[in-house]
Each structure stands twice: as C-alpha cells, then as structure tokens.
C-alpha cells in the first residue's frame, strides 16, 4: 500500500527505486514447509536463492580451529557476474559482512546473525553448528531480499568472490581500518554513540518526531516479552522430549509385564499397548525436534531482529545527539568569532584561525544534519517494513504452531484409538 509511494516521494535521493515490497511479504505457498521464517518465496518474487551448507571443521582442536560453511548462491540480479556461485566462508566473514552493511546503511534494520559462541571453538557440538548454519542461511536470504541491502557491493563480494581474493580483500580491509585516522566526525560519532547509550536519547527528544517516539518505546519493551516467549518455547521442546522418554520407558515396562503374564489374551494386549506406546514415544520425540526447528528457532530469531531494530533506534538517537553537539559547537565558534571581531587589538592570525574553525564546524554540522536526516528518512520506510514483516512472520509462526499442535493431538488420538476395544470386544 503506502511504503513504496512514500519512498519515492521522500526528500533526497535513493540510490535507485526499491523493488516492490511484496517480496518481503510471506506468501502462503512458501509457508508449506513448516514454519521456516526465511523468505522462501516464489521464484519470481525473489532474485536470490542462497543456501548455507556443509559445515566443515578445520584445524582439529587447535587454537586456530574454525568451521567453514559453503555458501551457494543462485541469482538473477544483473550486477552479479555469475548466476551461480559457491564459496567457502567462516563465521567471521559473516560478522564482517554484517558490520559493513550496518555502517553503510544506517537507519536500516539489518537482519540478525546468530550469537557468537561463548563456548570455545573446539567445544562446539554438531547440534550447535547445525543451528548456526540454519540461522546463517536465514540471515543471507533476508539480506538478499531487503530492498535497500540487496544491491550492496559487500554482499556481492561476500557471495561471489573466490576464497583467495576474499582473503586478500579481508587482509587489505583490516590494514586500512588500522591506518585510517579517526576523523573528527568519526570521533564525535563514537562519542555520541556511547552517550546515547547512557542517556537513552532523552535530551534529544524535544526535536524528535513524537510519533517516532511512541514507536520507539513500543519496540524497546518488546524484546523482553519475546524473550520470555522464547524461553517457554525452549522449555516446551524439552518437556516434549522428556514425555517421549517417559512413553518409551512405559512401553518397555508394559512389554516386560506381557512376558510375565503368559496367558494369550492378556499377554497380547500388553504387547499391543507396548507397541503403540513405543510409536507414541517416537511421535513425541519427533514433535520435540520439529518444535525446536520451527517454533523455538524462529522465536529466537524474532528476538534477535528486535534487538537489531533497537540498535537502529540507538543509532538514530546518537546521530541526533551528534547533530546537536555539532550545532552547539558551531554556535560557540560563531559567537567567539563575532566577539573576536568586535573587540579591538586582536591579531589577524587569530581571527583567520577562528574563521577556519568556524568553517570546519559548519561543515561538520551540515554533515551531521545530512547523516541524521538520511537515517530518519530511511527509518520511516524501514520501520513500517519491519512492522509488517514482524506481523506477518509472527502470525504465520503462531498459526503453524496451532496447526502442529492440532495435528499432534489428532495423531495421538488415532494411535490410542487402536488400543480401544471394539464393540465386539477385544482390540485384537
């Protein structure tokens, strides 16, 4: 409805008109695979199909051990050199990519990465690596589908560049970062960022859009709620698995009793109960696994995305702060400059110096203004996109959860019904 039109009419330039937002909305057909929140949309809507697979451990149990993933990309985007590519990347590379995207797209909610592991590298379980792999797939696909991010050069390098060039690029990048002097602007931005964290942008609020403030507040609290839901989802997975174990043990005990009670009708009945209880146990365990995959993990991703949104919010606050600082700084310099001129007997070089400083301050203030306004403009569309996506995905997630519970109950009822004696007497 509204977003694309707003984007086109917004002041300032976009790099190019963003593709239609339908690509973001989940189609029902795409959701037939249980609850995959990754945008597995129809081929015509997306220009990308990215898979992260085949994790390989390198450097067994040594300090430099790491896991590499194969990233397979199929794309129809013109700017890419190949329609299909396969590269090897490690988690550090993903983190780099995200950092770059964040730097260059302030105001956009960058999709979330799975957490860095607090466990040592060589202690990672296969389960953990599989989870990470799934989360990385979702990350890349979300980036690829995001209208503002999909044309990023960094993304393209990440997906296409072969390993040797990539290694060179990474090495060069880190050297440059070390060499680059943090300019005054950079310094102020970092400073602004940290103070924004402390003051939560309170002082800046007078200049902020009041509607934006309401939206901001709503997002800030959201993380807690989502985290709680996720916690319960984890417990559910656990208890479902435990229930499966209980059923299995119960089944075994019924079988044992059946062996003790040797008379045919009774012993056969015990065996049947044992058999079906065993099947039910398997069903329960499968459900636990499915829940973990299609309910718990997506919820975790929801939490991460909200955190990402909060970072963008913080970024905007700090940008505003920087702008305000720059303004204050400029005003101070101007006041000084007028004072200097109006006073007698001041040396020429001091006036000139002051003029220079004033010009610099003006430049900084303008830059800060541009940066801030860019963020605001981007965020307007971004937030609405974010909310829509959130609503769609959460809705789908909960729907699939309800469906899966209904299905599970149905299966359970059918299985137990096999043991109910028929009207003729005897379930055999």
């Amino acid at each position: 409805m509204f977003p694309s039109s707003r984007g086109a009419s917004a002041s300032g330039q976009h790099e190019e008109p963003p593709p239609p937002y339908e690509s973001v909305v989940m189609s029902d057909a795409g959701m037939s695979t249980m609850g995959r929140n990754a945008p597995q949309e129809d081929a015509q809507n997306s220009s990308f199909d990215i898979q992260v697979k085949d994790p390989i451990k390198h450097g067994e149990n040594s300090l430099s051990a790491y896991v590499s993933y194969k990233v397979c990309t199929k794309t129809s985007l013109q700017q890419y050199q190949q329609r299909q590519s396969e590269v090897l990347r490690r988690f550090k590379d993903f983190a780099w990519l995200r950092h770059q995207l964040q730097e260059q797209n302030r105001g956009i909610v960058i999709p979330a990465l799975p957490e860095k592991s607090v466990v040592q590298k060589y202690q990672m379980t296969n389960e953990f690596i599989a989870q990470r792999q799934r989360a990385l797939t979702i990350f890349l696909n979300r980036v690829a589908v995001h209208p503002a991010l999909q044309h990023s050069r960094d993304l393209q390098n990440f997906l296409e560049m072969d390993e040797n060039n990539w290694a060179l690029e990474m090495a060069r990048g880190s050297q440059e970062a070390a060499r680059r002097k943090p300019g005054a602007f950079q310094f102020l931005r970092d400073f602004g960022q940290s103070t924004a964290n402390i003051m939560a942008g309170k002082t800046a609020d007078e200049e902020e859009d009041p509607d934006y403030i309401k939206v901001r507040e709503s997002i800030v609290q959201l993380e807690t709620h989502l985290a709680e839901i996720h916690r319960q989802a984890s417990r559910l997975v656990k208890k479902q698995a435990e229930h499966g174990v209980s059923l299995e043990e119960f089944s075994a005990s019924m079988a044992a009793l059946g062996k003790c009670e040797k008379q045919p009708p009774l012993s056969m009945q015990f065996e049947r109960v044992a058999e079906w209880a065993g099947k039910l146990a398997k069903l329960s365990k499968e459900q636990a696994d499915a829940l973990s995959l299609s309910f718990e993990e997506p919820l975790k991703e929801c939490v991460r995305t909200v955190r990402s949104a909060k970072k963008v919010i913080a970024d905007r606050s700090s940008a505003l702060l920087v702008l305000q600082q720059a303004k204050m700084d400029l005003d101070a310099k101007r006041t000084r400059s007028s004072r200097l001129r109006s006073s007698v007997g001041v040396r020429e070089d001091r006036i000139a110096e002051n003029e220079r400083e004033t010009k610099e301050a003006q430049g900084r203030q303008e830059a800060a203004k541009v940066a801030y306004e860019t963020i605001c403009r981007r965020m307007n569309e971004e937030l609405s996109r974010f909310q829509q996506q959130r609503a769609q995905e959460t809705s789908q997630l909960l729907y699939l959860f309800a469906k899966s519970q209904a299905q599970l109950a149905n299966d359970n009822a059918h299985m137990w019904a096999q043991l109910v004696p028929t009207a003729n007497g005897g379930a055999h």
Partner: protein
C-alpha cells in the same frame, strides 16, 4: 450396640503384652502403599462419579457416614475404597454367589475420631475410630451398628488372621510406625482412617476371611476389643517372646518337654513362643539350604517355582508402577509448560494491544501490533486451556465444576492404578507362600526329631542288651523315649495336616488371584486407551479452533 460413646478405656494387661510382641513381626513396607500415599497427597478433588467409572460391584452401595467429606482431600484411598482393589484382584465373581441373601454387608466408615485420655497417666491420648457395619447376614446380631476400635485393635485383628488363616492372601494392613508428632495431625488421622476403611473393605471382599468368625468378632464384639469375651474366645493362647525366653532354659535342661504338643505343632513358632523349636527349625532351614535338600513333592516344587515367578512379577510390576508414575508426571510437566507459554503469549498480546492503542491503529506499527495481539491472545488462550485439560492446577481445583471431566493426569493415574494395587497385593502372596514353606519346615523338623529319637532308642536297646539281665535304668529311658515318640508321632501328623491345609489354601488363592489380576489388567489396558483417546480428541478440538481463528481473519482480510 450404641455407637460412639465417649470411652474411658482401662488398658488390659493383655493389650500391653500384645503390643510388646510387635517387635518380632517383620514389617514389610508395601510399595503399593507408599506409592499410594505419595501420589494421593496433593491431588485435587475428585468426586464420587469415579465409582461408576470402575464399575464397582453392588455391595459398595451401602451408605457412607461422611461428615467431614465435602472438601475433598481426595486420594486413591477414597476413590478405591469399597474393596475395589482386592475385588478386582480377586475375581469378584467368586464372592457374590456365596451370599445367599444377594447383596452383602459393608462394614463402613471408621469415621468419628475422639481423643480419650488414658487412665493411669501412663501414655496419653489415643485415637479410636468408629466402625460402622451395615449387613444383612443372618449370623450378625444386628443389621446396622457401630463399635469403636483403636489402631491396636486392627493390629490384633491382623495378627489373629495371620495365625488362623495361614496360607490365605491376607490383605496388607495400614502401617504401624508413625512419629509421635505426626499422629495428632488431622491430615494423618484422615489418611489413616481411609486406609483402615479400605483395609476392612478388602477383608470383607475376601471370600473366606470376609465370612470368618474372626472378622465378625472384630466388627461386633464389645468394646474394648481385646478384653471382650467374643474376641478372646477366638484367640488361641499366645505366648510371648518373654515367656518363650523363660521356657528356653527349662527346655535345654530337660525339665520341660522339648517336644511340641500336637496343637502347638500345627501353629507357627511365632505364636507358640517355643524358642527351642524356633531355633531348631531355623537351623534346619539353613542346613537344608546349604547341605541336604529334602525330598520334595512335585506339588511343593511347583509352588516354589510359583513363588519365584511371583517375585519376578513383583519386579516387573514395581517397574511398571514407577514408569506409570513417571508418565503421569511428565504429562503434568508438559501441561504446565503449555500453561506458562500461554501466559507469556497472552501477556505479549496485551502489551501489543496497548501499543496499538497508543501508537494509533492505522499506522503500520499499530496495524502490526493489532494483528500480533490478536494472534498471541488466541494461541495463548488455547495453550492455557490445554493446561487445564491436561493437569491439575491450583486454579482448576478451586473452580472445580462438579461434573466436569477430570484432568488427563488424574484420569491416567486412575486408569493405571491396577499396577499399584496389584503390586500391593504381592507381599501378601509371598507371605502366604512362605507360610507353607515354614509349615513344611516344621514337618521336616519333627520328622528329623523322630529319626533321632529312633536312633537313640535303638542304641539304648542295643546297649541294654549287652548288659546281662537288662538294665533298669536304660529300660526306663527307653520307655521315656517311646512316650516321647508317641507324642512326636501325633505332633508330626498334626503338622502334616496343617501343611496340607496351607497348601490347599495356597492353590485356591493363586487361582483366584490370577483370575482377578487378569481381569484388572484387561480393564486397565482398556481404560488407559479410552482415557488417552478422549484427552487427545479434546486437545485436537481446542487447537483446531485456534487455528481456524487465523483462517477466519484471513478470509476477512480478503
């Protein structure tokens, strides 16, 4: 008989004596019982509809006097009272035809409890229970009456049954050992009362014990039980451990006969206080185990095999009982998690709804929040309802609708209760089988004595013949030995008869138990399936409704 008079009860010396003898009794904690106690505490109220669920036999329809019963501290005791445990374990069909009058009696509620002060300031207060019986049996003096009994009276009943009904599977009585402080608690008193009631019902349901004089005397005799004539007439002379200790030196010195008389020989050494005989039998038992295996009849061998099978069954039953409990407990956990998840979803839904209000319903944020709020609430509510279907929550108990379906955990527990019940029966079975072996031990011991005496006599006779003209002293001894041997002959014969009687009873009971067990388990397996199907079908409906809420919304959105 006037019910419930406030009593002052002078302790009889006999009562004292019998309580001291308790130390010799082996107190086997019954797994079934303890599990009952554990699971029965803390279960929410369930109503008497459950009786129909189990299809209890008609004799349970007698009245209950239940003043303190409306708040339900429901337990399996309550639900299963009415002898259903032992009924189901023991083949109902065998009980009814014996009754010429059709419906039977039910000795019901030990209900009123009163504190009575003790007389000579020796101990303190104790509880007595009112045992009210309603019966239509002709041999009872009245049709509806009540007496007061103390716990030690129940103990005496049990002891008497053990002594007079050797070989029968005597239902286990409620446990004795309690802490002093615990005994005054109302919860404890109520639990004990229910346990005692269940015990009496089980006794009544036993085809032999229920009709026995002992049982009738317990229900009818004047208070206090232990000094009433009707009771003491039935009690064979019991000799205490102390008396046995006193006899022992005389037996060893020979001033008292070491040969049990026939009536004693027919009883177990526990009751005759004959320590020498007890030691002999014990020694023989050990010797038989490690050295000479006696020649056993096939019937005896079969029964010993049977005992091993019962022990194996016990192990499997204990395991199954544990796993059943674990299953119920994991159902409970799962249900609770759903409840917690539901609550967290509902809370989030409320938060989102508030956001929508604040931000404005037509903005993107507001629209998104509204959708999410509705979905969260829908799914959250379903999850919370799921919890109510599955488990007993504190809330569920508080708002218990009288005819509502009980939660799945309770139903499952009840459906699987035959496992616990049968497990509770097994110790009685093992004890009865053991009694037969003990009786056989007595026979063997006496037979051995006989052999020894014969040898002794033979050697005396041989020695005597060596002396010219006979030996008067030896002849007297020989005569004495022959007298002893005559007594021994009679005693051995009495012991053999007792052994046969016990064996018959064992056989009879085993058949009865097997049939009852089969029936109980068949019912159990049917029930568990029915319960689970019902529960899951309800859950299915619940979640279908939730899912359809989404579909409805989509249809509206177009």
């Amino acid at each position: 008989m006037e019910p419930t008079k406030a009593d002052t009860d002078p302790l009889s010396s006999l009562a004292f004596a019998s309580s001291l003898e308790d130390e010799l009794e082996e107190e086997v904690p019954l797994q079934g019982e303890t599990q009952h106690a554990r699971t029965s505490q803390g279960q929410a109220a369930s109503s008497h509809q459950q009786d129909d669920y189990f299809g209890l036999p008609p004799h349970r329809s007698a009245q209950h006097e239940e003043p303190s019963r409306d708040h339900a501290v429901a337990s399996y005791g309550q639900l299963l009272s009415g002898g259903s445990t032992w009924n189901s374990g023991f083949g109902r069909s065998q009980v009814e035809p014996h009754e010429p009058m059709g419906s039977q009696h039910v000795p019901t509620d030990p209900v009123q409890r009163e504190e009575n002060g003790m007389l000579p300031g020796v101990m303190g207060k104790y509880m007595s229970y009112s045992v009210r019986t309603k019966t239509n049996r002709p041999n009872f003096r009245q049709q509806d009456f009540a007496v007061r009994r103390r716990f030690r009276d129940f103990v005496a009943l049990h002891d008497l049954l053990k002594s007079t009904h050797r070989g029968f599977f005597i239902p286990p009585r409620p446990e004795k050992n309690t802490m002093e402080g615990q005994r005054a608690q109302p919860e404890f008193i109520e639990l004990r009362r229910m346990a005692l009631q269940r015990y009496l019902h089980q006794l009544a349901a036993h085809p032999v014990i229920g009709l026995s004089e002992v049982f009738r005397a317990f229900l009818e005799a004047d208070e206090p039980l232990l000094s009433s004539l009707q009771w003491t007439q039935l009690t064979p002379v019991q000799h205490t451990f102390m008396e046995g200790m006193a006899r022992l030196p005389r037996q060893l010195l020979g001033s008292e006969s070491a040969i049990p008389n026939p009536s004693d020989a027919a009883r177990s050494t526990r009751h005759t206080g004959d320590l020498l005989r007890r030691f002999k039998e014990l020694r023989l038992d050990v010797r038989q185990e490690y050295q000479e295996q006696p020649a056993l009849t096939q019937a005896e061998i079969d029964l010993r095999n049977e005992r091993m099978l019962v022990e194996e069954l016990q192990e499997k039953l204990a395991n199954a009982s544990r796993k059943a409990e674990k299953l119920v407990s994991s159902m409970e956990d799962l249900g609770n998690v759903f409840g917690d998840l539901g609550l967290s979803l509902i809370q989030t839904g409320l938060y989102e709804a508030a956001t929508a209000d604040q931000v404005g319903q037509y903005s993107d944020t507001g629209a998104a929040a509204k959708i999410i709020a509705a979905d969260c609430k829908r799914v959250g509510q379903a999850a919370v309802n799921g919890r109510r279907l599955a488990t007993t929550g504190a809330q569920a108990a508080a708002k218990a609708v009288p005819n509502a379906t009980p939660p799945a955990t309770i139903q499952t527990s009840m459906a699987l209760s035959p496992l616990h019940d049968q497990l509770g029966i097994v110790p009685a079975v093992l004890k009865a089988l053991k009694e037969r072996e003990v009786a056989l031990l007595t026979v063997h011991s006496l037979q051995r004595d006989m052999v020894m005496k014969q040898r002794a006599r033979q050697s005396l006779v041989d020695d005597g013949q060596k002396v010219f003209g006979g030996d008067k002293g030896k002849e007297r001894k020989v005569q004495g030995l022959q007298n002893d041997m005559a007594t021994l002959e009679q005693s051995t014969s009495a012991a053999e008869q007792e052994y046969d009687k016990v064996m018959d009873r064992n056989h009879q009971e085993l058949v009865r138990w097997k049939a009852g067990r089969a029936e109980a388990f068949t019912t159990m397996l049917d029930n568990i399936a029915k319960v689970e199907v019902g529960y899951h079908e309800r859950m299915h409906k619940l979640w279908e409704i939730a899912a359809s809420g989404f579909d409805d919304r989509r249809k509206q959105a177009g």
